[in-house]
């Protein structure tokens, strides 16, 4: 039984301009101890998906799913209190912006110990001891004196380490990292990623790594789902995805990797942007930006076609049409 099992999840927001479907019928499964990568551009619904799993969708959003289970418990039927007991304890999350994701008015010690107080019901001295251990674990020097620091006194990388310490404080079984390195310097990115993976291995927790960076996924994830405009367009093992991408969007993302464009004068890009609230095309959502789009792609919605190693949402997958991204 997978740890997280989601079928046909949709998240709809009611806005002034009408209903907007940010996530459109996606399936997601994560096994215990597995690393799943979710890749996609800005606006592809990655973050909304993770917020839906956490139960953090704002009031103007509606979450529907055919199945939404964590460790066999149906998330849709939990009361708010039961749900809160799960979030922050068994399912935890690290966000993109470490500088704004920590409360500027409280010390980092307070913010770490708060979870321990709420979920683990630890006493004051135990909380303090655990917080120091956690800061040590995430590689913060002089952890004891750092407890009384405020977020503005630490660098972005250090703050992200604090966020990670907070997230793993109650030994979660699933950690969702939403672009955890995007806001950081390149030199720090690698350190934070390594830290996340070390913790994942050491604790055997499942990790959903959300990113727009194919390179990050290549190094970390065992399985990858590629999202586009609220849909999963391709999902398969990381190795197969990198060697035999089926969806033209995946292919284009891979082409845009600098290390794959060696010898070319210009880095290939994908023209246009992810369609927004008012300009969703008919048929395949990727068709206006797709080099291989046919009439059928502009007319008919595309289901996810399963194949030997995964699934792709395309009538004319790359390997079959010969339009290999090379």
């Amino acid at each position: 039984m997978p740890l997280l099992d989601i079928r046909n999840l949709s998240v709809e927001f009611s806005t002034r301009a009408g209903k907007f479907r940010a996530v459109d019928g996606i399936d997601l499964t994560v096994d215990e101890g597995e690393v799943l990568g979710i890749v996609g551009e800005s606006g592809s619904g990655k973050s909304v998906t993770s917020l839906a799993v956490m139960g953090l969708i704002a009031n103007n959003g509606r979450v529907v799913a055919d199945k939404m289970e964590f460790d066999g418990r149906d998330l849709r039927t939990l009361t708010e209190r039961q749900r809160r007991n799960l979030t922050g304890k068994d399912v935890a999350m690290v966000f993109q912006e470490p500088m704004t994701s920590l409360n500027p008015c409280f010390t980092i010690g307070f913010q770490i110990m708060e979870s321990l107080k709420v979920h683990e019901k630890l006493g004051r001295s135990d909380r303090r001891r655990r917080a120091i251990e956690l800061l040590e674990k995430v590689g913060i020097p002089a952890p004891e004196s750092r407890l009384s620091s405020f977020p503005h006194q630490l660098s972005g990388g250090m703050n992200q380490r604090v966020m990670i310490a907070m997230a793993i404080s109650c030994n979660p079984r699933l950690l969702i990292a939403d672009e955890p390195t995007t806001a950081l310097d390149v030199t720090i990115q690698k350190q934070i990623l390594d830290l996340l993976l070390d913790l994942q291995k050491e604790r055997g927790m499942a990790l959903i790594l959300i990113t727009h960076d194919m390179g990050v996924v290549a190094e970390t994830a065992r399985r990858v789902s590629v999202m586009y405009a609220g849909q999963v367009v391709e999902t398969r093992s990381a190795r197969d995805l990198f060697t035999h991408p089926q969806h033209p969007y995946t292919g284009a993302l891979l082409d845009a990797l600098p290390e794959r464009a060696l010898g070319k004068r210009r880095l290939p890009t994908i023209p246009g942007v992810v369609p927004g609230i008012s300009d969703r095309p008919n048929g395949c959502l990727f068709n206006p930006r797709c080099r291989f789009a046919q009439d059928k792609c502009r007319r008919e919605g595309v289901p996810l076609f399963p194949d030997e190693s995964g699934a792709a949402r395309c009538f004319y997958p790359l390997q079959v049409t010969g339009g290999v991204a090379a």
Partner: protein, 337 residues
């Protein structure tokens, strides 16, 4: 911190000059002088009039009068009341506690009611409660204070007979002035019922005076809270699985209070301005009533000295408010680290 104080203090001097110059000039623009008013309808001979004016130094050129006044003020002498002959500072010190008592109760009332209402409106944004609260607070903000006072007196004092109309305490009680704060003095005295009498005298004036600050605080709290509730760290707090009450009352409120404290500090000026009307309506023996009477009597030293002292109090309070930022906001406390 030292720089901060230095800039703040350098602002005091122009403010001081502005306040003295304005009050000095404005009161002299009003027709009539203290001598005429003391003489009343009986009139006074022009010779005697001139003699008395000269005795008060009112015959000198205005610039010289102003210079003399400033020289005295700098030496700590605000002059004596033309009417009572007592030093202005002494009168101020006797009456000031009454105004403080009223203002503190008014701002406490405004905060105790305004903060929770503002928070609730932000949390229930767009609801009927939110809309009606914002409508009511706009009304409260725009309402003339004397009219509001008269309405409340009509309802609670005249029709219902719940509260007294004027004064600080019923004439049945005599309370030894220890602190000059009636609530405290009444509590200290042995007289039974004195405290509740003092309290019932205070309620209506405090509500009247607190209405404008209440409206301002409620609106400010709401907008500040709305902004904070959209911040990333609130999402983090919710992602920790904290109860909504804890997220709002602890993580959001602490941040939302920072601008609200500024606004509360700015209300001190509003309070003193309001106190002038409120004290006059409720016959509350404080600074406001004293200043109004000084205008009516053309008591130049009282008006000049009184306004100057009030201005000083407002500046001090605003300085204190700026200092409390540091308590609320660690980024200021540790600034520059």
């Amino acid at each position: 911190m030292f720089r901060f104080f230095l800039t703040r203090f350098s602002l005091i001097i122009p403010t001081f000059i502005g306040v003295t110059l304005l009050t000095f000039a404005l009161i002299r623009l009003v027709p009539g002088d203290p001598v005429e008013l003391m003489a009343g309808e009986r009139g006074i001979s022009p010779e005697r009039h001139a003699e008395l004016r000269a005795a008060m130094g009112l015959d000198k050129p205005l610039l010289v009068q102003y210079g003399d006044y400033i020289l005295n003020v700098v030496q700590g002498d605000l002059g004596n009341s033309v009417v009572t002959r007592t030093p202005v500072l002494d009168e101020f010190m006797t009456l000031f506690p009454a105004t403080i008592e009223l203002s503190v109760c008014a701002i406490l009332f405004a905060m105790i009611v305004g903060l929770p209402l503002g928070i609730l409106a932000a949390v229930k944004r767009g609801s009927i409660f939110d809309h009606s609260l914002m409508g009511i607070s706009l009304t409260g903000y725009s309402m003339p204070i004397f009219w509001w006072a008269l309405l409340l007196i009509l309802l609670f004092s005249v029709n219902l007979g719940w509260t007294p109309v004027s004064g600080r305490i019923s004439v049945m009680y005599w309370v030894e002035p220890v602190t000059n704060f009636m609530l405290i003095d009444a509590l200290l005295s042995d007289e039974e019922g004195a405290f509740s009498s003092a309290l019932s005298h205070l309620i209506l004036p405090a509500i009247v005076l607190g209405t404008v600050p209440l409206a301002v605080i409620a609106r400010m709290t709401r907008s500040s809270m709305l902004e904070v509730l959209g911040e990333d760290y609130i999402r983090t707090a919710r992602a920790k699985g904290l109860a909504p009450l804890r997220v709002v009352a602890q993580h959001a409120l602490r941040n939302a209070l920072i601008p609200v404290v500024t606004v509360i500090g700015l209300q001190v000026g509003v309070l003193f301005a309001g106190a002038i009307l409120t004290e006059t309506i409720f016959a509350w023996p404080g600074i406001g009533k004293w200043l109004i009477e000084s205008v009516a009597r053309r008591d130049y030293p009282v008006l000049q000295g009184g306004v100057l002292l009030v201005a000083a109090v407002i500046m001090i309070v605003n300085l204190l408010v700026d200092l409390t930022y540091g308590v609320l906001n660690p980024r200021i406390r540790h600034g520059g680290h």
